[in-house]
C-alpha cells in the first residue's frame, strides 16, 4: 500500500507564489489518491460517482480520452477502433472499479512499460509542449465519468 501525491512540491510552491497575482493561472493541483495492492484506487477522485453518459463522450473524443486509438469499445458509430490494447467491451464485468480507475489515472503504476498514457498525472515527463505543461490529460471529473462508463460495459 502506498500513498501517492502527484502534485510536486514545485507545483505547490509556484501556485503559492502566483497566488498574489490575480491573473496568473495556478498550476493544476491534483487530488491525492491511494493505491491499494498496486492494482487499484478504491475511492472516487471527486468523492462522487461519475456520469457514464459524459464518460462515453470523453472516451471517444480524440483530444480527451481517445481510448479508441488503442482499444475497441461498443461504439458502432465510430469507425477504426485501435487494436493495440485489449477490447474493453466487457471491462465492467472483468475488472473492478478500482482497477479501472488506476489504469486510467496512471497505468504505469501497474505496468511501467505500458504504451498507455497516464490520464491523471502532470509531472515526471520529458519536454512536454508548453500548452500542456503542468496539466493532466483528463480532469478528475472526466476520469470518474470514464470509470462510470466502463463499469456499464458488460459484454454481449
Amino acid at each position: 500500500m502506498a500513498w501517492r501525491l502527484h502534485s510536486s512540491l514545485r507545483v505547490v510552491l509556484s501556485a503559492a507564489i502566483f497566488a498574489a497575482l490575480p491573473l496568473a493561472v495556478a498550476a493544476e493541483e491534483l487530488v491525492a489518491y491511494k493505491i491499494t495492492n498496486k492494482t487499484s484506487i478504491e475511492n472516487s477522485l471527486t468523492g462522487k460517482p461519475g456520469d457514464p453518459v459524459n464518460g462515453r463522450k470523453v472516451a471517444i473524443n480524440r483530444k480527451q480520452g481517445n481510448c479508441l486509438a488503442c482499444h475497441a469499445l461498443p461504439v458502432p458509430e465510430q469507425p477504426f477502433h485501435g487494436e493495440v490494447g485489449p477490447d474493453l467491451s466487457a471491462a465492467g464485468s472483468t475488472l473492478s472499479e478500482g482497477a479501472i480507475r488506476l489504469r486510467i489515472v496512471n497505468p504505469k503504476a501497474v505496468n511501467p512499460d505500458t504504451f498507455m498514457p497516464a490520464f491523471y498525472r502532470n509531472d515526471g515527463f520529458t519536454r512536454v509542449a508548453k500548452k500542456f505543461q503542468g496539466k493532466t490529460i483528463l480532469s478528475a471529473e472526466q476520469v470518474e465519468d470514464v470509470v462510470a462508463y466502463l463499469m456499464t460495459l458488460k459484454g454481449n
Partner: protein
C-alpha cells in the same frame, strides 16, 4: 499487442513449420524489405504505392524537375551554379543520397544533406542559404536525393560518427511529451498495429523528402520528426537542430540496405 503474442507463439513453436511461407511473404515486397526491416512503402495503401511507382503520376516529380532547374541556375557572388562544380548530377550525386548525415570535420558535428547543400551555397557560391522547409531547399534536396534512387542506404556510424549515433539512439528511445511515448513505442513496439485509422510502420527515413497526401506537398524528414513529436504533445526541436540531425543518423542506420526511395509518396 495480440499480434505480438501471436508472433511470439509462432516463433516458439512453429518456426520450423512456417519457415517456407514466411520466406514467401518476405519476397513479396522485393527490395522494400530486407530481413525484418521494412520500408513505409510496405505499409502504405495500394493506391499510394501506385502513385509512387509511376513517375508520371507521382506528384513529387514536380519537385525533382524544378530541383533540376535550380541545379543549373547561377546564383550568388561567385557566379556559379551547382552544375558549375558538380557537372552531371546523375554521376556526381549518385551516392550522396545514401550516405548522409556525414561527420563534418570543420564543425566537429554531423551534417545532413540539406545542410551540405546550404554549405555549398554560402561557401562555394557566395549565395544566401535557403530557408529550412522553403520550396527551394525542398526541391534541390529532392532532386539530389533522387539521383540515388534504388541504391541501398549506407550511412557511416563508426569513427567520429559513433558518439552522435549514440545520442540519436538515446533520443529515439526516450519517452517524451504528455503522452509519454518514445519513437520506439510506436515504430518498434507497435509497428504493424493499427492506431485508430493509422497503420504504424517502422518509421523508416529512406523515402525522404516525401510527398504526403496529408501535406499536399513534399516535406523534409525533420518536418516528419516535428509532427511525430507534436502528436505525443512534446515540444518539437528546430529544423536542422543537432538533436534532429543525430536522430536522422540513427534512423539512416535503422534503414540500412533499404533502397533510397526519394521522393516517396505516403498518406
Amino acid at each position: 499487442m495480440r499480434r505480438g503474442i501471436l508472433a511470439a507463439a509462432l516463433g516458439l513453436g512453429l518456426s520450423a513449420v512456417l519457415a517456407g511461407p514466411a520466406m514467401t511473404e518476405q519476397s513479396q515486397w522485393g527490395p522494400y524489405q530486407v530481413g525484418d526491416v521494412r520500408s513505409g512503402y510496405t505499409y502504405a495503401a495500394g493506391e499510394t504505392r501506385d502513385m509512387q511507382d509511376d513517375d508520371f503520376v507521382n506528384p513529387a516529380m514536380l519537385w525533382v524537375d524544378s530541383g533540376a532547374e535550380l541545379w543549373e541556375t547561377v546564383d550568388g557572388a561567385a557566379g556559379k551554379s551547382c552544375a558549375s562544380c558538380h557537372g552531371d548530377a546523375a554521376e556526381s550525386m549518385a551516392e550522396a543520397g545514401t550516405k548522409f548525415p556525414v561527420y563534418f570535420e570543420p564543425s566537429g558535428k554531423m551534417m545532413n544533406l540539406e545542410q551540405r547543400i546550404n554549405f555549398c551555397r554560402t561557401e562555394n557560391m557566395k549565395a544566401d542559404a535557403f530557408k529550412w522547409e522553403g520550396q527551394e531547399l525542398l526541391r534541390l534536396t529532392t532532386f539530389v536525393r533522387n539521383q540515388s534512387r534504388g541504391k541501398p542506404m549506407n550511412v557511416k556510424i563508426d569513427g567520429p560518427a559513433a558518439p552522435f549515433y549514440a545520442k540519436g539512439k538515446e533520443f529515439y528511445e526516450t519517452r517524451r511529451g504528455q503522452l509519454d511515448m518514445a519513437c520506439s513505442s510506436c515504430h518498434v513496439d507497435n509497428a504493424g498495429n493499427m492506431l485508430r485509422a493509422n497503420l504504424l510502420s517502422q518509421g523508416m527515413s529512406n523515402g525522404f523528402p516525401t510527398y504526403r497526401l496529408k501535406w499536399q506537398g513534399v516535406g523534409s524528414l525533420h518536418r516528419r520528426f516535428r509532427g511525430c513529436n507534436k502528436q505525443v504533445r512534446a515540444q518539437p526541436y528546430d529544423y536542422g537542430s543537432e538533436e534532429y540531425v543525430n536522430l536522422e543518423l540513427y534512423l539512416a542506420d535503422r534503414a540500412r540496405s533499404l533502397p533510397v526511395e526519394a521522393p516517396a509518396v505516403r498518406n
